[in-house]
């Protein structure tokens, strides 16, 4: 485990150094990512220009959802982004090389790229989040803080797991890249808004299959002390469990995908 951290750290350092060589372009990318992500929030602002509350949630509360989702989403994008290039790695034969080395395949693929520019997006998410905190009144208790922290950590882990599971599709077909995108980026979009505005089938999907409901919605209910027409109160506290389950599931999917690759070639 220690050596994996060493490898990842080394790689992050190398990548930063390499990108720092093109300082201007690098900074531009971060600033670009920052500016870009503001555009996403404009939609929320425009919607709230016409109404005081969406599904019973105020602008501040929706911003709370938006910020908490965006920060963890971009974190996952930064760390898992290498998987987006999986079809290219397979086609170029890099994956074969990966399999000849004494280290887990997923880990090696993740180290082929770290999207440092997404820090810009994370900062923007943080700003929206701070904006939210100025508009909502949260009664902070020790438990609330714990739930809040576990929401962020759990959310990041769930998104990472989703990233792994959906991109593993590349081992079966090169064409389904967009499906993976629709789950990751679509998932981010979904978690900007309170879950109960979506159709029943979608809510169930997001609670039991692709656990996006636990990225921010359910824990937020407790932190913001809101009532919800769906879900029992227990669900507000189980994010860590769901995150752990997601990791296990994603790992199993990845292993199956690699096994398929190793038996059928490319």
């Amino acid at each position: 485990m220690a050596s994996r951290a060493a490898i990842y750290g080394r790689l992050a350092g190398s990548r930063l150094r390499a990108q720092y060589q093109y300082r201007f372009s690098f900074v531009l990318q971060i600033v670009g990512a920052f500016a870009l992500s503001f555009l996403d929030f404009i939609e929320v602002l425009v919607i709230f220009h016409h109404l005081p509350a969406l599904g019973g949630w105020s602008l501040g509360e929706v911003a709370f959802l938006y910020g908490s989702s965006y920060v963890v989403f971009r974190f996952a994008d930064m760390t898992m982004g290498a998987l987006d290039r999986l079809p290219v790695l397979i086609r170029m034969g890099t994956l074969d090389q990966v399999l000849t080395r004494p280290l887990g395949s997923l880990w090696q693929v993740l180290t082929t790229d770290i999207g440092v520019r997404h820090v810009g997006g994370m900062v923007q998410g943080g700003i929206v989040f701070w904006f939210a905190l100025t508009r909502v009144h949260i009664h902070w208790t020790a438990l609330r803080v714990a739930v809040f922290v576990s929401m962020l950590i759990g959310g990041a882990v769930i998104f990472c797991a989703i990233w792994v599971a959906t991109n593993a599709i590349a081992f079966w077909t090169m064409d389904a890249r967009e499906v993976a995108n629709s789950v990751t980026y679509g998932g981010n979009y979904l978690t900007n808004y309170p879950l109960h505005i979506f159709g029943v089938w979608l809510r169930r999907l997001l609670a039991y299959v692709i656990p996006l409901a636990f990225v921010n919605y359910f824990p937020s209910l407790y932190v913001l002390d809101k009532r919800s027409p769906i879900g029992s109160p227990v669900l507000r506290f189980v994010s860590p469990l769901v995150a752990a389950g997601a990791v296990v599931a994603a790992g199993a999917i990845w292993k199956t995908a690699v096994r398929h690759y190793r038996s059928s070639g490319s």
Binding site: S14, G93, D96, R101, R262, S263, S264
Partner: protein, 323 residues
């Protein structure tokens, strides 16, 4: 048993889909099975340097992939260093080195030295061992001028040298090379061959070299395996093959008018196609220049060319004539 590589009746079949064409996607697909490797058995002993040749699509790369844990065999027994590559991939990976000719194992955007450092951590090489090896390889392969250059900016020859060093940093017991000299110029090829020979001789590293280039084999390997259509059709030393096919060339002549096969002592007319004839001769029996003169004295020539037998020729001859 000092076998480091053991294949017993190994088969690998692929399912190949062909689109039915037209209309809706995925509605009509024909499925055929292709046997890339069709019953291969071979053993390699420690410190051998073996050449593995065959035409394109013969099954060379597939065999190597099965030996290195990338691909699972459909049936048969595969053992490398006593381990099963499929089940014990990580354990085996620590003890083997692999170089794929046309792709690089190095990190594309990063300087070469960074790749080495990363590999040091991946293979958990002790600092001492790492430094010694790195120094040796940098010297022998002349890596110093481009150690700090990003890999994507390296020329093919430089990258190949980098790849070789990278594959040997952790002192593997076996080195698998898949077309390592492809696309390189003559000087680069010579340098690589020299390096491989020294690695085998000085470190006792077993080397399995798949190649399309007979010169690689000639310079490096005493033992050669020829594979075609998934089967090993020859497994033996190079000298035998060399004596039978090595010294032969083919003179292709275009006559002004089509004529009967030209008859010259010691020369076999292999093929006649209108005004063109293929004359096979042995260079130790008659020189190319003499043959041309002899032929020109008998017929009116429009054009001519000389070709050396390549691997396809060798394979064909082995099929036709047996060994």
């Amino acid at each position: 048993m000092t076998d480091v590589v053991h294949l017993q009746d190994v088969r690998k079949t692929f399912r190949v889909y062909r689109r039915g064409g037209g209309g809706l996607p995925r509605l009509r697909r024909e499925r055929t099975t292709v046997a890339a490797v069709d019953g291969v058995s071979l053993d390699i002993e420690r410190a051998e340097m073996v050449g593995y040749v065959g035409p394109n699509g013969a099954g060379k790369s597939t065999t190597v992939k099965m030996l290195t844990g990338i691909l699972a065999p459909s049936s048969g027994d595969v053992r490398v260093l006593g381990l099963e590559p499929m089940r014990q991939r990580v354990e085996l990976a620590k003890r083997i080195g692999v170089v794929f000719g046309q792709r690089t194992q190095l990190w594309w955007d990063l300087p070469l030295s960074d790749s080495f450092e990363l590999l040091r951590h991946i293979y958990r090489i002790s600092l001492d061992r790492y430094r010694t090896n790195l120094e040796t390889f940098t010297g022998v392969l002349d890596l110093a001028p481009f150690l700090a250059t990003p890999v994507r900016q390296l020329s093919l020859g430089q990258r190949m040298r980098g790849d070789l060093a990278a594959a040997l940093l952790h002192d593997p017991e076996i080195l698998f090379l898949d077309e390592p000299t492809i696309g390189l110029d003559v000087i680069a090829k010579a340098r690589i061959r020299e390096f491989l020979a020294s690695v085998n001789a000085e470190r006792g590293t077993t080397v399995l070299l798949t190649t399309h280039d007979m010169d690689d084999i000639e310079r490096l390997c005493k033992r050669m395996l020829v594979i075609d259509h998934g089967r090993v059709i020859y497994d033996g030393d190079l000298d035998t093959i060399r004596k039978r096919f090595g010294g032969e060339s083919v003179l292709v002549v275009d006559l002004v008018d089509p004529g009967p096969p030209i008859s010259v002592d010691g020369v076999r007319v292999e093929r006649v196609d209108g005004p063109r004839q293929w004359l096979r001769f042995r260079r130790d029996k008659i020189s190319a220049a003499d043959l041309v003169a002899e032929v020109a004295s008998r017929v009116q020539l429009k054009d001519l060319a000389i070709s050396d037998p390549d691997i396809e020729d060798v394979v064909r001859r082995i099929y036709e004539e047996g060994v």
